[in-house]
Symmetry: C2
C-alpha cells in the first residue's frame, strides 16, 4: 500500500535532537517523543495527543493482543466512562487507592449533580455491579470479559509523557471463575500473551514476577507484573495481572450456585497492558538522531527518497514511484516526492521519525539497476539490485526487529546486579541503578527500610530466580530469605 502524504511538517526551522541520550535521558526522551511527531502536548496538563505514528503503534498492539484474547475465549464489552461515587466506594482498599487521583464530574450543563461521578480510573466497580446481576450459576462461569478504553488518573508525582500520563489507553480484562484454582491458571496464560506481544511487536523484553504486598493493586490479593528497564537505570512497570480472590465478589455480591447447589462467592482476576509501553519503546530503542520504530508497529516501514536535479526529475520520479509500488506490496511504503526539501533534510527528518528503512534512488542508481537501502537501527547502507529488492526488504524488516529485541535484551540482562549484602545493594542502587537482585525475608519493614534509605522499591519477585531463595538470606535483616526480589528506582 502506498501512502498519500500524511505528515504534518513544521517549516524549515525544524530541528533534530539536541540532547545526548547517555548524558541526559529525561531531556532526550522529552525531545524525541515530540520532535519525532509521535505525540504532542495539549492544553490539558498530563494528557497527550497521540499523533498518527503513535496511534498506529497502539492500534497494532491492540489488534494483535485482541486477536489472541478472542482465540482464548475472552469477549469484549464496553462499560460507561462515569462511575457513581457510591459504587467506587464499595471496596475499601480500592477506593483508598484511587480516591486521591479521581477526576470528579459534579455538574452537567447548569445543574449540580446529587452524587459525584468519577471519570473511571479503572472499571472494576461499575463492571462488577453488572456481573453480580449476570452471574447466577456455575454454568455461567468462567466469564472472561475485556474492554479497550481510556482511563484518567489525576496524579501529580513524576508526570512524564506516556510513561506517567494522567490519561492513558489500555485494555482491562475482568474474568470470573468458579474456583481459585481455575482463576490461578489464567495468570501464566495472560502474562505469556503480554510477553509475546511486547517481544514481537515492540521488541521489548521484561521480567515477569510477583509484586510485594505493599506494591499490589488496590483491592487485589496478589499482583503480578512485567517490569522493564529504561536506559537511565530506572525501572518501570509494564503489563500487570491481579488475582482478586473473592475480595470484589464479596463487596459486589457476585455469587454463583456451585455444582453442589450451594451459593459461593466467585473468584476474579483483572489484567492490563497500556499505552505506557509506547513510551518504553521510544525510550529503549531511540538514539541521538531520533526515534527508532520496530517495523511491526511502524505506520510507515519504508520511505523512498528520490534524488533528482531539475533536469532528471521526471525519470527519477518515475523510477522512485515504480519502486514504491513494488515495495508497497510487502511493506507500508511512503514516497517522499516533496521537491522543496533537499534529500539530506529528508534523511534527517525520517531518521528523526524512526522509519525502519530508507530507500535512496538517483540517476546513477537507475542506470546501474540498483538502489541504496539504509537501516535506521544500525545506520548500515546496502546497495541492492532492483530485482532483489522485494526479498531484501522483507528480510531486512525481520532483521531490524530481531536486532532491536536482542539489543534490548542485552540492556535488560546487563542491568541486573545480584548482591549479597545491604552495603552492596545501597552502593549498586546509587552507582549503577538497574535491578538489584537480592534475598528478602518478605517483611514490610525490610522493604520499607530499603525504600527509605535508597529510594528503591521492590519491582517484583521474578518467577525465574525464586529457586535461589532456598539458600539465601534477607539482604536487610539477615534472616532466612523467602523470596528473591528485584530492587530498583522506579517511575
Amino acid at each position: 500500500m502506498i501512502y498519500v502524504e500524511p505528515m504534518v511538517k513544521e517549516e524549515k526551522e525544524k530541528k533534530g535532537i539536541t540532547v545526548n541520550k547517555e548524558k541526559d535521558f529525561s531531556a532526550w526522551y522529552t525531545e524525541v517523543i515530540e520532535k519525532s511527531e509521535f505525540v504532542d502536548y495539549t492544553s490539558v496538563s498530563g494528557a497527550l495527543a497521540f499523533r498518527p505514528d503513535a496511534y498506529f503503534a497502539w492500534e497494532t498492539v491492540q489488534r494483535a493482543t485482541d486477536d489472541i484474547f478472542k482465540a482464548s475465549g475472552i469477549q469484549n464489552v464496553y462499560f460507561p466512562t462515569l462511575i457513581p461515587e457510591h459504587l467506587l466506594s464499595k471496596e475499601k482498599e480500592h477506593v483508598k487507592g484511587f480516591n486521591p487521583e479521581v477526576a470528579w464530574v459534579t455538574q452537567t450543563g447548569d445543574s449540580k449533580l446529587e452524587e459525584r461521578l468519577a471519570v473511571r480510573p479503572t472499571s472494576e466497580t461499575i463492571m462488577y455491579e453488572s456481573f453480580s446481576k449476570w452471574i447466577k450459576s456455575w454454568r455461567d462461569l468462567p466469564m472472561r470479559l475485556n474492554q479497550w478504553n481510556s482511563v484518567l488518573r489525576w496524579e501529580f508525582k513524576h508526570p512524564t509523557p506516556l510513561l506517567r500520563s494522567r490519561e492513558f489507553l489500555w485494555n482491562e480484562g475482568h474474568t470470573v471463575f468458579g474456583s481459585q484454582e481455575e482463576a490461578d491458571k489464567e495468570r501464566d496464560e495472560i502474562l505469556g500473551i503480554y510477553l509475546k506481544i511486547l517481544k514481537e511487536y515492540l521488541a521489548l523484553p521484561g521480567i515477569a514476577g510477583r509484586k510485594s504486598d505493599s506494591e499490589k493493586f488496590a483491592g487485589a490479593v496478589a499482583t503480578y507484573s512485567i517490569e522493564h528497564m529504561l536506559p537511565n537505570g530506572w525501572s518501570i512497570q509494564g503489563p500487570d495481572f491481579h488475582s482478586d480472590g473473592q475480595n470484589f465478589a464479596k463487596a459486589f455480591d457476585i455469587k454463583f450456585i456451585n455444582q453442589k447447589g450451594e451459593k459461593e462467592y466467585a473468584y476474579q482476576n483483572t489484567f492490563a497492558i497500556s499505552t505506557r509501553e509506547l513510551g518504553i519503546m521510544m525510550a529503549v530503542h531511540g538514539d541521538n538522531r531520533g526515534a527508532v520504530l520496530p517495523p511491526r508497529i511502524a505506520r510507515i516501514q519504508v520511505v523512498v527518497i528520490p534524488i533528482f536535479t531539475t533536469e532528471n526529475k521526471p525519470q527519477v520520479m518515475k523510477a522512485a514511484s515504480d519502486i514504491s509500488q513494488t515495495i508497497g506490496k510487502h511493506a507500508r511504503t511512503y514516497l517522499d516526492d516533496n521537491d522543496v526539501y533537499s534529500p539530506g533534510w529528508k534523511f534527517n527528518n525520517w531518521e528523526l521519525k524512526g522509519t525502519p528503512i530508507r530507500v535512496e534512488i538517483g540517476e546513477r542508481d537507475i542506470k546501474a539497476g540498483k538502489v541504496v537501502l539504509a537501516r535506521r537501527d544500525t545506520s548500515e547502507k546496502h546497495e541492492v539490485r532492483i530485482e532483489e529488492l522485494e526479498k531484501k526488504i522483507t528480510a531486512m524488516l525481520g532483521e531490524i526487529n530481531a536486532n532491536l529485541l536482542s539489543k534490548a535484551e542485552k540492556l535488560l540482562k546487563e542491568s541486573i546486579h545480584e548482591v549479597k549484602s545491604y552495603e552492596e545493594l545501597k552502593k549498586t542502587i546509587k552507582q549503577k541503578g538497574g535491578f538489584v537482585e537480592a534475598g528478602w525475608c518478605g517483611s514490610a519493614e525490610c522493604e520499607a527500610k530499603v525504600k527509605d534509605e535508597t529510594g528503591a522499591k521492590i519491582t517484583n519477585m521474578p518467577f525465574d530466580v525464586q529457586s535461589k531463595a532456598k539458600n539465601a538470606k534477607c539482604v536487610v535483616c539477615g534472616e532466612e530469605a523467602k523470596y528473591v526480589a528485584n530492587f530498583a528506582r522506579s517511575y
Copy 2:
C-alpha cells in the same frame, strides 16, 4: 472457530418478549435490547453496558469502516477526554449548542480545579488547537485525521437506550483542506462509505441529504446526514457529515501559506457514525421472538443444538461436535452442549438473542446423514445433507443478509409519502408517520410552523429528489419551492 461457552444466563425464570412490536414499539424495543442480552442498564442513568454481542457488532462496523478510511488516506489519532472550558468556548455557535449537555469535571482528588474541564461531547476544540500548531503550509494539506472514542452528552429529552444515550461510541473524522472545493469533494466519498457499511454490515438503508440550517451542527456551515426510518413511523438521524468552511479555522487560527505565498484560513469537515446504529439495527430487524442479527455483525452466526436422550447422548454429542468443527471453518459457530435446558428452551433462547442460523441434530438425523437448519429471519426450516452443509451455511448467511436488507428497504420506501398540500402533510404526519416529502421554500418560518403544528421537523433534503423542486411550491406558504424536504417526527 468454535466458541467456548460465553453466555451469561439467567436461571429458569428467563422469559421471552412479552410485548407486540406492532402494538407498542417503544416497550417492545426496551424489552428486546435487554432480554436478548445485547445491552444492559447500569447505575449511571442514560449510559449502558455493551455486552459481548453488542460490542462485537460495533467492533465489526468499526473495523470495516476504519479499513476503508485508511485506504482512503485517513490517519487515526487520539486526543484527551477532557477539554478545558476556555477551549470549548472559542467557537460561539459550537459552545451554545453543546453547553447545556456538558458533564463538567470540577474536582480532582480533594482539590477544586481552577478551570472546569468538559468531558468531551465532541472533540473539535481540543483537536483544532493542535491543528493550528501542526499546519503551516499548503504542503501539510490535506490533513485527514480520525479518532474512535466515546463522547458524553448529558441531555434529558427522549432518553432511549442506544438511540438516544448520554454516552455513545463513534468515530469523529476531522479533515483540513486548502480549498473549499477540495473539502466539498470529500462529502460524497464519506457519505458513500457510511451508506456502504450500513448496507453491508447492518442491513440498513438510509436517505442521504442536506439538513436544514436550523438542524445543522453547532458551528458548521452545512450538515449532511443519512436518515433512517423506525418501525413506529419516527425517523432517526444516522451518520452525518459537516462542512465547516472556515468557521473553526478562524476561531482556532488554523492558517496555512498557500501556493501564492499568502496566509489563508483552512477549510474543514467533520463526520461521524455512532453506536446509535446498533439500536436502529435492533429496532428495524427484530421481531416478536427477539433480536434478528445480520450475519456479518453476529458474534455467533450459527448455533448447533444437539437433541439427545440420556441413552444416545454420547453419539449425538460426538456428531454435533464434529458438525460444529466443520461449520466452524466457515462461520462463527457455537455448540450449545448444555444438558440442563431442553432443546425447546434453547431454541427460544437463541431466537431471543437473534442468532442467524440454528442447526438441529438428533439421532434420527445422524442415521439419515442430515441435519435441520432453521433460519432466524424467516423461520424456515431446511433439511440438509451433511456433505452439503458447508456450502449451504455460507449461502444461507448471504441470503439472510440480503433478505434483511431488502425488507428494510421496503419499509423505508413504504414510509415515504409525497404530499402536495399542508393539510395532506398534517394528516399524513398524524395518521401514518414516516417521511413526508414536500416542497419547501427554504424559510425558517415555514419550517418552524410545521414543527409547532405537527411535531415534525425537516429530517433532510434528500439528494435524489431535488430535481422535483423545480416545479414544486412550498407546502406551507405556497411560494416557489427551493428544495424538496422530508418532514418527520424524529428521535
